[in-house]
Symmetry: C2
Subunit: 264 residues, 2 copies
DNA sequence: TCGCCGGATTGACGTAGATCAACCATTTGC
DNA sequence: GCAAATGGTTGATCTACGTCAATCCGGCGA
C-alpha cells in the first residue's frame, strides 16, 4: 500500500539515507548548525518569529541537529516515543493518522517553516506518521529543553502556545471541509489554501507543483483518487486552473473562491 | 437555523440569564470561588491534574469567576476577542465552526473537566462558537495570567501543552473518522468514545442521555439527521444498543467496536 | 386539559461520489 | 534501451447516503 520507508527515529541520520552512513560531503559544520535560525529564511514564519537576536541565539543553541530525509523516508511513526518537535527547513512532508484496521488518512501537508510533531506532546508518543514527500531537511527541537527555555523567554513560550493553537484552528477548518463540503469545494479550498501558503513563503501563489499524488490529496480531502483526478480535469475545462500532472497553475482564483459555498 | 442565543462574552453574567441580572440566591461566595479547584471533583482530569496542593492554590487564585449558562446561551462566538480559556465545571457545551457562507459544523462536544477555547490563543480571536447544551457552569481562566503562572509552575506549563496537544490528537482522529469511515462506523465510534469519557468521569459507561439533537450529532459526524436516526434504529434492531429519544443504553460494546473497520 | 411545536422516525426516491476496469504516460531499475 | 512499476485519466455502473415528505411523539405554555 505505502512504500516501505526507513524509520529514522532513534538515530537521526545525517547525510543521504541511500549512500554510506557518514558521507563526508553533505555534512554540515558545527558552526553552521549553531547559527541556523539567525540566517534561516523561514525565521519569521517559524518558531522564532518576533524574537530579538539575542533570544534567537538562545533558540539556536537548543536546536540539536538537522535531519535529512530522502523522499519516502519517515521522520517518525505512530507509536514512536515523542522527544522533539521538528521545524521543516527544506522540502515537504505529509502526516498520516491510521486506524487500528490499517486504514490511513493524510492529516497534514507540511512545508518549510511548519512545525510538526505537536500531537505527540500530550501522550509522549507520536500519534501519526510523518513522511518526506521529497528530499527534505528538518531542524530537531528537543521538547524538554524547549519547555525549559520557554520559561525564560516569554515570547518563545507564547509562540509555542500559538503554534499549538493554530494547529487546532487549522484542524477545525479541515473538519468543516470534511464534514460539510462537496468534493469540488474541498479541492478548491485545498488549492486556495496552498496558494496562500506559497505566497507567504515568497513563492508564486499561482503556479506550483504538488508534492502529493492524487491518492494522497484524495485521502487528505476525504475523496478517492479518481474523484480528485476528474475534478482537476473539470476545473481545467472550466478554465479555473491548468494542470499537467502535478504542475498546477491557478487561472481564476476569484472563481475558485466563489465556487466554495455554492449550491449545486 | 440556530436558536437566538445570548452572547455573554464581554460581561460574564453571574446567575441565570433569564432572571434579573444580579439575582441574590445563586451567587457564589468569594470564599467558595477561592477554593474551587481544591474541592472540585474534576481536579484530576482538568488543568490542575498532578499539581500539589500549594500549586493548586495558586491556580485557584487565578480563576476569575465562574460563568453560569442556561441551555442555549453562548459562552463565546466566532470572532470574539480571546481572553480566557474555560474549564467546564458542570453541564456540557458544543463548539461549532462556521464557513463564510453560514454553513455550520459541530467541532466538539465538551463535558465536565474539559478545557475549551484553546483555538483562540493563536489568533487572539475565537475561531468558533461555544454553546451550552444544558444548564452549564464554567470556570474562567484568564489566559495572560495563566501564561505568567505557567512560567512559575513547570507542571502547570506542561499540563497546558498537554491539553493543547491532546486536542490536536483528538481532532486528528475526528479527521480520520470524517475522511474515511462509513456512517455506521462513525456513529459507533461516537458512542464508544462517549462511553469512555463518561466512564472516566465516574458515570455509567453504558447508560447515558445524549445532550445533542440528531441534527447536532449528524453535524459532528458529517451526516444528516435522518441518517443518524436510521442508524440508531438499526443498531437497536441489531441488539447493539437501546434508544429512547436521547436516552441510550449500550448493550454490546464489543460488537460496536468490531463494527468499526469492517467491510460492508 | 388541550393544542402546539420542536425533535424524531420512517418511507420513497435521487444523486454525488465510490467502485471497477481499461488504458495511457512517466519514471525507475536492469 | 527495454521492461516493469507507479501514477494518472476516463468511462460505465453501483450504492450509501442525502433529499423530500408524511407522520409521530413528548413536553410545555395557555
Amino acid at each position: 500500500m505505502t512504500p516501505p520507508a526507513k524509520p529514522l527515529t532513534s538515530q537521526p541520520a545525517v547525510g543521504s539515507a541511500r549512500t554510506v552512513p557518514i558521507s563526508p560531503a553533505p555534512v554540515i559544520s558545527i558552526r553552521d548548525l549553531k547559527t541556523h535560525c539567525m540566517t534561516c529564511s523561514m525565521r519569521e514564519l517559524c518558531l522564532p518569529m518576533g524574537l530579538n537576536p539575542d533570544e534567537i541565539r538562545q533558540v539556536d543553541s537548543l536546536v540539536g541537529t538537522r535531519v535529512r530525509l530522502k523522499k519516502g523516508d519517515s521522520l517518525y511513526r505512530a507509536g514512536d516515543t515523542f522527544s522533539a518537535l521538528y521545524a521543516v527547513r527544506l522540502g515537504s512532508l505529509k502526516t498520516t493518522v491510521l486506524a487500528e484496521d490499517g486504514r490511513e488518512q493524510v492529516s497534514g501537508y507540511h512545508m518549510l517553516g511548519d512545525i510538526i510533531g505537536l500531537d505527540g506532546i500530550g501522550s509522549d508518543r507520536h500519534g501519526c506518521q510523518a513522511l518526506a514527500l521529497e528530499d527534505t531537511e528538518v531542524c530537531v527541537l528537543p521538547f524538554e529543553r524547549l519547555e525549559d527555555l520557554a520559561r525564560d523567554l516569554p515570547p518563545l513560550q507564547h509562540n509555542l502556545y500559538q503554534f499549538l493553537s493554530k494547529e487546532i484552528a487549522r484542524d477545525h477548518s479541515i473538519m468543516l471541509l470534511l464534514g460539510s463540503m462537496r468534493a469540488e469545494e474541498r479541492l478548491a479550498v485545498f488549492l486556495i489554501n496552498l496558494s496562500e501558503r506559497y505566497r507567504r513563503r515568497g513563492y508564486s501563489s499561482t503556479e506550483f507543483v504538488l508534492r502529493m499524488t492524487r491518492e494522497e490529496i484524495g485521502s487528505y480531502l476525504g475523496l478517492k483518487l479518481e474523484t480528485v483526478s476528474r475534478l482537476f480535469s473539470r476545473f481545467q475545462e472550466e478554465g479555473l486552473i491548468q494542470v499537467q500532472g502535478r504542475a498546477v497553475k491557478l487561472l481564476d482564483i476569484t472563481a475558485l473562491k466563489q465556487l466554495v459555498g455554492q449550491r449545486g
